[in-house]
């Protein structure tokens, strides 16, 4: 391995080409001629934050309806073009954004971008497909209702972020999806879809200038002066006591547990310390300290791990485990003990050394595919990290100290104030 290869294989200002079109669309392109394909990944500002309370799931419903028919093509024509070429394109929604993603052989990139533009600019939301899709979404919710892991996760979010967009499911509830009309989709699209805050990353066997001109051709005319602006989010309040909920699902063999607390937002100064601390707590090796205690030593669970999710306004710090129903309380107690230890004693320097080496060493692996690169570049833009972030990243990681991790742990984790949600057999409870 040569040093040159390392430097040039990591995306950075030298090979990420960024351009803002006159209507506000930000494009980022990175060429990779090793594979004859192209990947796109992007976001627009239309997220579930705009969902009316009684119509939760509206952003998601709108996003998945975009390709059900346009002024230029019906549903079958849209997908015939894509699928015949072995290409894919899809939309989804999160709290802040509608996301888009697709891939194609490079020879089919013009078709892919044209399909993307047509779906975003000209959707017609045909009545027939509205009804059909609603049935599909409702069936998805019925399946979710039986999924122990999804139910525990949903209960966790609701308890951690009460009456906050982060606490509402992006795919809504049965009654809120049922309440959505076709006109709601039309209105949501008119108010919240526009070029102003759209970001698209293109990675593959293409030249940046070709991508820029293709987007200019397909999207140049797009304007939406009536685009609604986002309201400020409600404050996220820290937990005052431990909240415990168990959702009873009969006929299940395993209980899924999701427990934890608030975490840092992506722009918080302690983000990286929390992330590295989390790696020690429940990721590194075979799921870190918690994996070691719950799975390796106690043999209680097939999985027991932790994660920090950090968004624009806030974040969560979660432990997830799947256990035999009889072992639920025991596993929760073991996890609480580990959280207590994590916030009362600094991690060992050797543990931090391990996780720092892991973070730095795995960077090339996370960037080995076009889609991995595209998603990473999208995050650079989305969280204003700078195009040279990956070049600075090893130093940023090395600068984190055990003391910073302890402070981050103490700032967020309090074993006396946790959300503990579980779903599985046994009587439901909430306190």
């Amino acid at each position: 391995m040569s040093a040159t290869l390392v430097n040039t294989s990591i995306p950075g200002p030298h090979d990420i080409h960024r351009k803002v079109l006159s209507n506000g669309i930000t494009l980022l392109v990175r060429s990779n001629f090793n594979s004859a394909s192209v990947v796109i990944s992007g976001i627009l500002g239309a997220g579930s934050q705009f969902d009316p309370h009684e119509k939760l799931g509206l952003a998601h419903f709108t996003s998945v309806s975009l390709m059900r028919g346009t002024k230029n093509a019906d549903f079958q024509t849209i997908f015939e073009r894509l699928e015949s070429a072995g290409a894919s394109l899809g939309f989804g929604a999160s709290v802040h954004n509608t996301s888009l993603g697709g891939r194609a052989l490079v020879e089919d990139m013009p078709m892919l971008i044209s399909s993307l533009a047509d779906s975003l600019l000209n959707p017609t939301f045909p009545e027939l497909y509205f009804d059909r899709l609603k049935q599909q979404l409702l069936t998805g919710l019925a399946i979710r209702a039986q999924d122990t892991s999804e139910r525990a996760s949903l209960a966790f979010d609701t308890l951690l972020f009460p009456n906050h967009p982060y606490g509402f499911p992006e795919d809504g509830y049965t009654e809120t999806i049922s309440a959505i009309s076709r006109q709601d989709l039309v209105d949501f699209h008119a108010k919240h879809f526009g070029p102003d805050n759209m970001v698209v990353v293109v990675v593959g066997a293409v030249k940046p200038e070709d991508v820029f001109s293709l987007f200019e051709k397909e999207f140049g005319v797009w304007k939406n002066p009536g685009l609604a602006t986002a309201k400020p989010f409600a404050a996220i309040n820290p937990l005052q006591k431990t909240l415990r909920e168990h959702i009873s699902l009969s006929g299940k063999s395993q209980t899924d547990i999701v427990m934890g607390t608030l975490g840092p937002k992506r722009s918080a100064p302690e983000y990286l310390a929390a992330s590295l601390g989390n790696n020690i707590l429940g990721q590194f090796g075979m799921m870190g300290r918690i994996g070691d205690v719950v799975r390796e030593k106690a043999g209680l669970a097939y999985y027991a791990s932790t994660s920090v999710s950090s968004w624009i306004e806030g974040g969560s710090w979660e432990v997830a485990a799947g256990v035999n129903p009889a072992n639920t309380d025991k596993a929760i107690q073991l996890i609480i003990q580990e959280l207590e230890k994590f916030r009362s004693e600094p991690v060992l320097q050797s543990e931090l050394d391990d996780s720092q080496a892991n973070y730095i060493g795995r960077l090339p692996l996370s960037l080995e595919s076009n889609s991995g690169v595209a998603n990473s570049i999208l995050n650079l833009e989305r969280f204003n990290l700078g195009l040279d972030y990956f070049q600075r990243y090893p130093d940023l990681v090395r600068e984190v100290t055990t003391d910073q991790i302890l402070k981050a742990a103490q700032k967020y984790i309090d074993p006396e104030r946790l959300v503990i949600a579980s779903a599985g057999p046994g009587k439901g409870k909430k306190k």
């Binding site: 549903f75 069936t139 006929g251 795995r362």
Partner: protein, 428 residues
């Protein structure tokens, strides 16, 4: 990027496949063993998967906890999988750290400890893994379908094993299974990434050559006769959603028929991806069955599954029934579509489309070094590494006539198992 794959055999029977790829400073190293549920006997189901778990519990050189720390410290990605015909272990590492992976894999081919306490602790972990799967209605349905589709072949058993067997298997059973199947004569080392072939071969030779070959237990010919009449099964459980599965025996991956089936599956339910284990596919909204079932408001989704296996396995359809429809309506329409496939040849345009789709999947699947390492070894488990290289070319040989003949041969209603998962009445 070079497309050249170099193959070596050591005297102890170990096969080594190397492919240089210099696009990124990483190497993916896979070790494949010909052992999985296909090699298991009555009362010992799940033993191959359990042995795979025990391979993470340490050797005298790399005690438990040291392995994962060492790999993770170097930024490596590692995991293992057990399936019907094989068990595989892989590490994708920064290229300059690959020695660790080589040391680890060659060591645990022979030196794993199988400590009694670790065996007991892992028993509950695996039972927990099984219980997690049981939470999924489709796992329950599929388990019942496999038992109905094979009467004697070990493919009838779930890879994870039955609860009864998981409770009964002992440390000595596990160790014996390990000693029988984990040896160079039963293994393939596959590697893709940023290395020089001659240097890498030497590194591998140094580590593996001294491991003695052993006799691998013979399984004999396990194949069983075709199903003679349709079997219907019903599974009930919690939920509100009804699922249908229909399954037929499929060709083995090494047969020409497998490629015909791949085209058939592509136009029937959409193309499968060529990322690891069929991932990385695309939507299937223009496939015949989506049009017939989802577009006609009978189902909310339809998927097909065709796996590359050593012996003939299964071609399966999974359909999620719309709540305002019924399994009977879905079945009627499904039978119409199967009849259409058996009555008249598909068009050349449909075949060309399936080939183009496969070409795209092939390009996507070749993008990632880990996936390239995967395919080198995976294809050896049921055929030869050239299977993957010639995949698209073989699909191009499929004709409408051949497809019609094979569809008639395999997809007869008398040779299928039909399964329905029906939600139980809600007790509340």
């Amino acid at each position: 990027m070079t497309d050249q794959i170099v193959s070596f055999n050591l005297n102890n029977g170990l096969k080594i496949l190397l492919k240089e790829i210099h696009t990124s400073p990483i190497i993916s190293h896979w070790v494949w063993y010909r052992v999985g549920s296909r090699y298991e006997t009555v009362g010992k189901t799940g033993i191959s998967h359990w042995v795979e778990h025990m391979q993470f519990k340490g050797t005298p050189t790399f005690p438990a906890g040291v392995l994962d720390r060492a790999i993770s410290r170097d930024g490596g990605l590692w995991n293992a999988f057990t399936h019907l015909d094989w068990t595989t272990f892989f590490e994708t590492m920064p290229a300059d750290k690959i020695d660790l992976s080589l040391n680890l894999e060659s060591d645990r081919m022979v030196n794993s400890v199988f400590d009694v306490e670790e065996v007991d602790s892992e028993r509950t972990v695996i039972i927990s893994e099984r219980e997690g799967s049981e939470n999924d209605p489709l796992f329950k349905l599929e388990e019942a379908m496999q038992l109905a589709a094979f009467k004697t072949h070990p493919y009838r058993n779930e890879v994870i094993g039955s609860l009864e067997d998981l409770r009964a298997i002992t440390r000595d059973d596990l160790f014996q299974h390990y000693r029988s199947y984990y040896n160079p004569a039963n293994a393939v080392v596959a590697m893709a990434g940023d290395f020089k072939t001659d240097e890498m071969f030497e590194k591998i030779r140094q580590r593996y050559e001294s491991i003695p070959a052993q006799k691998v237990p013979l399984t004999g010919d396990l194949r069983e006769p075709a199903l003679q009449k349709e079997e219907r099964i019903e599974v009930t459980g919690p939920g509100e959603t009804t699922y249908i599965e229909m399954t037929w025996r499929a060709p083995a991956a090494s047969e020409e028929d497998f490629f015909i089936f791949t085209v058939l599956d592509s136009l029937f339910t959409g193309p499968s991806g060529l990322n690891m284990f069929g991932g990385g596919g695309i939507s299937n909204k223009t496939s015949r069955l989506y049009r017939a079932l989802v577009e006609k408001e009978l189902a909310v989704s339809v998927n097909g599954s065709l796996q590359a296996t050593l012996d003939p396995y299964l071609y399966s359809l999974t359909i999620t029934v719309r709540p305002d429809s019924s399994p009977e309506h879905v079945l009627q329409k499904l039978d119409d579509e199967i009849a259409r496939l058996l009555d008249s040849p598909v068009t050349q345009a449909e075949i060309d489309r399936a080939v183009k789709q496969a070409r795209a999947m092939f390009v996507y699947g070749s993008e990632n070094i880990t996936n390239q390492g995967f395919w080198l070894g995976y294809s050896e488990m049921f055929s030869h590494y050239s299977w993957f290289l010639e995949y698209v070319k073989n699909l191009e040989q499929v004709t409408a006539d051949k497809l019609l003949a094979k569809a008639r041969e395999y997809l007869s209603p008398q040779r299928r198992v039909l399964g329905i998962y029906r939600p139980e009445e809600n007790p509340s």
